[in-house]
């Protein structure tokens, strides 16, 4: 089961890399003229095509690109002629830093709130929290971000509205700088995660074996810890991993709002500059992380649920 899923995940990443590569090149219009503009002389276009290796057949270019990519050579940026790997490296680390800070705050909160909402289902607490999270998932990320800025950076000046970090800063200075973006992400991810956790646990609590345990007269705490929890583990782990995948992508907009030097910001900038090599490389990295986390979600839920290990 696990190996099969693993192979499928790797296959997906390979197909995605082909899609990113071929998709970008097979789209209508010549890439070189599209970037240089209609006024470019034929010589410049020819030289540019050579630089992009557009004169070679597609499959040769794909394997050359993939080979270089795996070796860590991500090509050269069209905008500033610097190696893409150099542009991406520290930004990717920054993105991971931001996403993991948000994850560390949100995962425990979401699981706890989801558990409480499921246990006290239908109470005022459950209703209040369900309405709040329903609103939170309907809000665009930037709405929450600007409200936080308005409250915590303009009305009361505690946190900076621009999260500029660099290597010279100490760890705590960095944390202080990214408080607002990580709060924004936390808010959204917690809402999603909490709702799904609640649904997963309600699902478990409705199963016959829980009813059986209750009818036997077991204590409520014992039913939850020994009967419900082990069975809820698999769906909850799945929910967490899926939402972490969402977090990695949701980071793009938040980075733009807070001008945070991350991979998402770079991707958006490169798209508007049509800096194709940077778009390809950062797009592939985002996709690979996303697919891997989805893969992890599936594998963990297979491992934590013995029934899934033995398919019929």
């Amino acid at each position: 089961m696990v190996t099969k899923r693993l192979a499928l995940g790797i296959l997906t990443i390979i197909v995605i890399s082909i899609l990113i590569f071929v998709g970008v090149e097979a789209l209508p219009g010549d890439l070189a003229t599209a970037i240089l503009g209609q006024e470019a002389t034929p010589e410049t276009v020819a030289a540019f095509r050579k630089e992009l290796k557009l004169d070679l057949p597609p499959h040769v270019r794909y394997f050359a690109w993939l080979g270089d990519f795996l070796k860590g050579d991500l090509g050269t940026s069209l905008a500033n002629k610097r190696p893409v790997a150099e542009l991406i490296g520290w930004r990717f680390a920054n993105t991971i830093f931001l996403a993991s800070t948000a994850a560390i705050i949100s995962v425990p909160i979401a699981i706890l709130l989801g558990l409480l909402a499921a246990l006290y289902r239908g109470s005022w607490f459950d209703n209040a929290i369900s309405t709040t999270t329903l609103s939170a998932i309907s809000f665009p990320e930037f709405f929450i971000a600007y409200i936080l800025i308005a409250l915590l950076s303009v009305q009361i000046i505690i946190f900076p509205s621009i999260s500029n970090i660099n290597d010279q800063m100490s760890f705590w200075a960095k944390i202080h700088a990214i408080i607002l973006p990580s709060l924004t992400l936390t808010f959204i991810v917690t809402a999603h995660m909490m709702r799904q956790t609640r649904a997963a646990i309600i699902n478990i609590l409705a199963s016959p074996f829980i009813e059986m345990a209750q009818l036997k007269g077991l204590k409520r705490m014992r039913v939850i810890v020994l009967h419900a929890f082990p069975n809820a583990l698999s769906p909850v782990i799945n929910v967490v991993a899926l939402n972490l995948a969402y977090l990695v992508v949701g980071v793009v907009i938040v980075e733009v709002v807070f001008v945070y030097p991350g991979l998402g910001q770079l991707l958006v900038d490169s798209v508007s500059k049509r800096d194709i090599p940077v778009v390809q490389a950062s797009g592939l990295i985002f996709a690979a992380v996303y697919v891997s986390l989805n893969l992890l979600a599936d594998i963990l839920s297979i491992l934590s649920n013995p029934r899934l290990l033995h398919p019929r």
Binding site: P140, Y146, V291
Partner: protein, 274 residues
């Protein structure tokens, strides 16, 4: 009439949601009548505060915020609506097709959709838009294709249950063509779950377009559009001028409204009484 009976039984949250949607639709339809100025008219100084002349103040170029918000409702909602319709047309068509034909067609279509769904949509859209450039046509097409994968999944699953029914079998034995079966047998029976899904997909598409416009890659200025308006006025917030919160709030207002309705639909569909 069934609609009104349903409405009378609806919970308060669903009624509030409906009212929120109606306000938006009203603003979108009657924008030229309600709005005191025209869409791109410069009427005063930059970032003026709220006043009787300018109900919500003015934007970064001195255009009336209230007017832009009304026209924004029109452009943003219309584009999201067209995109969702297109996405449903594509997704349902291919989904029914896969379910009715089965076999290799179904298998290969499903695998293609699996791969497209494994890809984070925002990243995919950004990559495609970096090559084809940003135009409203490209935007609608890219998002509709990406979103139709979700519609495909649902309509295929629903149609799968219908194709095993006796009446479809009878139609097949009668020698009806695949188009006839899809149109006359599957579509009418698959409609209710698809309609419920429409609200959810609309929300997603609407937020997606708003996000792309906010990133400067969606609907381009000077067309009034909520996501783009947040981006244009974002700088004001550090001066303590909260004008970007209006369009951002408008987006949130509409999506909360749609979600309240969808939530109610889902509760009816799942048969939960609490």
């Amino acid at each position: 009439m069934a609609f009104f009976r349903l409405l009378r039984q609806s919970p308060l949250s669903a009624r509030i949601g409906l009212a929120m949607i109606l306000i938006n639709v009203f603003a979108a339809i009657f924008a030229p009548v309600i709005a005191p100025y025209t869409e791109t008219e410069v009427v005063g100084d930059v970032w003026l505060p709220m006043s009787t002349d300018h109900l919500l103040g003015t934007d970064h170029l001195g255009r009336d915020m209230f007017t832009r918000l009304m026209y924004g409702a029109r452009n943003t909602i219309a584009i999201a609506f067209i995109t969702t319709l297109l996405s449903f047309f594509l997704g349902a068509l291919i989904g029914f097709f896969a379910a009715t034909l089965g076999g290799w067609t179904d298998l290969s279509l499903s695998r293609v959709v699996d791969i497209l769904m494994a890809f984070p949509t925002l990243i995919f859209a950004l990559i495609v838009l970096s090559v084809v450039g940003t135009s409203i046509g490209a935007l609608i097409l890219v998002i509709a294709v990406l979103d139709s994968t979700r519609v495909f999944r649902l309509s295929r699953a629903v149609a799968m249950d219908i194709t095993v029914m006796e009446y479809v079998e009878a139609a097949r034995l009668r020698g009806e063509g695949i188009w006839w079966i899809m149109r006359k047998e599957i579509l009418p029976n698959a409609l209710p779950p698809l309609v419920a899904e429409f609200g959810l997909r609309f929300c997603f598409v609407f937020l997606f377009i708003a996000a792309l416009s906010f990133l400067g890659l969606g609907i381009q200025p000077p067309t009034a559009d909520w996501g783009g308006m947040v981006r244009e006025n974002a700088g004001a917030i550090t001066f303590g001028i909260f004008i970007p919160l209006w369009p951002a709030g408008a987006i949130a207002f509409l999506t909360v409204g749609v979600n309240l309705i969808v939530d109610w639909f889902l509760k009816i569909a799942s048969g939960l009484k609490d």
